[in-house]
């Protein structure tokens, strides 16, 4: 086991991927708790599709993918948030509209430029080889920014997640903190997207939160538990993908499914044994 890990980490690209991946899964898990509870899970999914479109365009323009994607996805995040808050326009329909549109634009752009090849597959399902050295530096820096902002605004995020009307009434700028959450989510998604794939990245946001909510009863413990679950699942997923040569993104999701089922069953057993 240890030998295998040693061998695995003798590849620089894997070390890079694991560092970025661990940070991204940590950020995604923390934000995920709030997103899932606010019924905003679909925003994460929508954003990843927008990210796919921007990645395709960035590649076509020969521009640095992260620098093109981040501003556009952040803008899309604010737009989706606005749509979800205004329940008169059907929020879920609008999100589906935006995500399929970006997907279509992305696919057309790719087929016109590089042609439909393995690139598309990599964008959709992720590739561990996608990280360059510059990407790693930027990703690590941004991930640390997301973590610091999350910790600083933890209490405000809790208040806004639990009860927006009360928070607003007592003078907390709920709209501002919603935008902060959307902003941090957008960055996290873009950072993790190329490794996990546009179709799978939202699982990093949704799964750990849902998993820890099976067992934990406090907001703080849910947050901490999902962070731990997410990091562990990512690590196991990467090791599995290395050993069995499976795609990284999908392997991480599979481990997350297993964790979810484990927590779910544990909860049932715990409840049975109590009653």
């Amino acid at each position: 086991m240890i030998e295998m890990l040693m061998e695995m980490f003798s590849y620089t690209f894997l070390v890079r991927a694991v560092i970025v991946g661990l940070l991204v899964s940590l950020c995604a898990a923390l934000l995920g708790v709030s997103l899932v509870l606010k019924r905003y899970s679909m925003i994460g999914d929508g954003l990843s599709h927008v990210g796919f479109g921007t990645l395709a365009i960035a590649t076509a323009m020969n521009a640095a993918p992260l620098t093109v994607s981040i501003p556009i996805v952040v803008l899309a995040a604010f737009l989706l948030l606005r749509i979800s808050e205004n329940s008169k326009i059907k929020g879920d329909a609008a999100i589906a509209l935006i995500s399929t549109s970006s997907l279509a634009i992305g696919v057309v752009v790719i087929s016109l430029t590089t042609g439909m090849n393995t690139d598309v597959c990599n964008y959709m399902f992720g590739s561990i080889l996608a990280m360059s050295k510059d990407d790693v530096t930027l990703s690590v820096a941004l991930a640390i920014v997301v973590l610091v902002l999350f910790v600083l605004f933890y209490n405000k995020i809790f208040a806004v997640t639990f009860d927006e009307s009360f928070a607003k009434a007592t003078g907390t700028k709920a709209g501002l903190y919603n935008m902060l959450i959307a902003f941090l989510t957008a960055i996290t998604i873009v950072l993790g997207m190329r490794m996990m794939g546009a179709l799978l990245i939202s699982s990093l946001i949704i799964f750990p939160a849902l998993t820890s909510m099976r067992i934990c009863k406090k907001f703080r413990s849910v947050t901490i538990c999902s962070a731990i679950v997410s990091v562990i699942c990512f690590f196991i997923g990467v090791v599995i993908s290395y050993v069995y040569a499976t795609p990284t993104g999908a392997s991480v999701v599979i481990v997350n499914i297993a964790a979810f089922l484990l927590f779910w069953v544990t909860n049932i057993v715990l409840r049975r044994s109590k009653s």
Binding site: R39, N155, D163, S165, F166, T170, T172, K217, F219
Partner: protein, 236 residues
């Protein structure tokens, strides 16, 4: 000076005037019930009192050193809250957030205040329980403790007994009355339950998209509108 003064205030909802011609004063220690049919402008007025909505016309003035974010608000519960994983203590403590301003973490004083209000409402045994596992009445008590954390002067309650069974409803009314009497906190309550409104409140504000009645409860029960509403709503 009055705590809250409405001077010929009107509030609009998406361009349509929802309630107009509001002229009333709330004094320290009052227990005001706002009654009226659905869609008579009660919720809009609440937003106005919380300063989440600016009056279309007229003004809402705060006196006695009351700031808009010092109103302890008990909103109606949302669907998302019903299965929210948070301890009662976490919820109560979040009532102190408004007073924190930009400072990110709670201080010792905040935590003490949260525990004090938990004691005041007799929910010590629920302190570490999960909010979603509490009964409706227990959840309202937790939210009431949170509202008390946010204020020293005014509680604004939006249909606090909606969906509670009769026993729990009575308990909650008694608790609110006790808070009003013992701590001199002003209570403003929106209620559908007109029988209890006239039983507990010192003042009644009756809305019919305008101010149909404002005055002491004794006068309200003798007025035409009061008698009509009391008779008509008995089986509601």
């Amino acid at each position: 000076m009055a705590l809250i003064t409405c001077q010929d205030a009107s509030f609009a909802y998406e361009g349509n005037t929802a309630v107009r011609g509001l002229n009333f004063e709330v004094h320290s220690g009052d227990y005001l019930c706002i009654v009226g049919e659905n869609g008579s402008g009660k919720s809009t007025l609440i937003k106005g009192l919380l300063r989440l909505k600016t009056p279309q016309k007229g003004s809402v003035l705060m006196g006695d050193g009351l700031h808009a974010n010092e109103i302890g608000y008990l909103p109606q519960q949302t669907v998302a809250q019903k299965d929210f994983p948070a301890s009662a203590y976490e919820v109560v403590l979040s009532g102190r957030l408004g007073a924190r301003g930009i400072r990110p973490f709670y201080s010792r004083t905040d935590k003490l205040a949260a525990d004090e209000n938990i004691m005041k409402l007799g929910i010590e045994s629920l302190r570490n329980r999960c909010y979603r596992e509490l009964s409706g009445g227990q959840q309202q008590r937790v939210l009431l403790a949170r509202a008390l954390c946010a204020t020293k002067k005014v509680l604004l309650l939006d249909e606090p007994v909606a969906g509670l069974d009769p026993m729990v409803t009575q308990e909650l009314y008694r608790l609110i009355e006790k808070i009003n009497r013992d701590t001199d906190i002003t209570v403003i309550m929106v209620s559908h339950d007109i029988q209890c409104a006239v039983k507990y409140a010192s003042h009644i504000l009756h809305l019919e998209n305008s101010q149909a009645f404002f005055g002491k409860t004794e006068e309200y029960v003798k007025s035409n509108i009061g008698m009509g509403f009391l008779g008509g709503e008995r089986d509601d």
